[in-house]
């Protein structure tokens, strides 16, 4: 070891001693600082990936339906196209009808009565 290296080794040893000789209060503060630094690490957000994939899937599906690449109803099911225009006209018909409100409230009863009459007709 050269004289220069020996001198530097001595300096290094003195610095090591000064670091090793830190008092307990200082070491405690260092420990608290270290724990605080480690505590800031946010836990991994494992739910983000599946949630993001689900949201992306919904968006892709909506975009495909919106552009007409996918049918908006199940094939084979009866379609009831309801546009704003037809909906508005059916409402007008309902309001302007001469039938009383009780008639529409008892609509299920009349449907049942109609079915009964049809059965009787078929039976006779």
């Amino acid at each position: 070891m050269s004289i220069e290296n020996s001198w530097l080794a001595q300096a290094k040893a003195m610095l090591d001693q000064s670091a090793d000789g830190l008092d307990a209060a200082t070491l405690s503060r260092l420990n608290r600082a270290r724990q605080a630094a480690l505590a800031q690490r946010a836990p991994p957000r494992r739910w983000l990936l599946p949630a993001g994939m689900a949201a992306a899937s919904v968006l892709v599906l909506a975009a495909l339906i919106g552009r007409g690449y996918l049918p908006s109803v199940v094939p084979g099911a009866q379609e009831f196209p309801l546009t704003a225009k037809t909906a508005a006209s059916s409402d007008i018909d309902l309001v302007s009808s001469d039938d009383s409100l009780e008639f529409y409230q008892d609509l299920e009863f009349y449907a049942w009565l109609d079915a009964q009459e049809q059965e009787q007709d078929l039976g006779s």
Binding site: I3, M14, L15, A19, T26, L30, A33, L38
Partner: protein, 186 residues
Amino acid sequence: MTEPVDLPTTLERTLDQFLKGVERRALRMAELATTNRDEAMDLVQDAMFGFVRHYAAKPPAEWTPLFYRVLDSRLNDWHRRRQVRSRWLAVFTRDPEDDESDEIAQAPDLNDPGPLLRLAGSEAARDLDAALTRLPLRQRQAFLLRVWEGLDVAATASAMRCSEGSVKTHLSRALASLRRALEEHA
């Protein structure tokens, strides 16, 4: 059987061990720069936070120069703030020979037994401390990172965010200044 909750992950344990391994030297480095333990403690804590926030995901083999890069940045910031204050107070006492001195004239004489050999015990440590405190920040950091921390030139350059040539220049000047300062006390 109950499972323990919040067990630290392997990464957290490795991080804890790493910081535990460097924190004392980091504090001493900051203390030599600030000559104030409380301020040094704040800087080290800031460096720990910055390191964990920005570099914890890096491979552990790269952590040492990255940690000292953060600490060096904090020390530079502290030094700049102090310089601004010093201008107002007009007590800036930097050695004017620092940047313009002749490197060859300052090169250490290898036949000399060395200044620390002539100093004894705690007096030598105190004189070394004082000599290190008087060094310009960049020279002190180059000395501490190369000689004390044992980083190679490339890692020191990475930590100090400068070229390897600058590291060598800072270190050469630091060695010459230290030798000269310690000779005066021998």
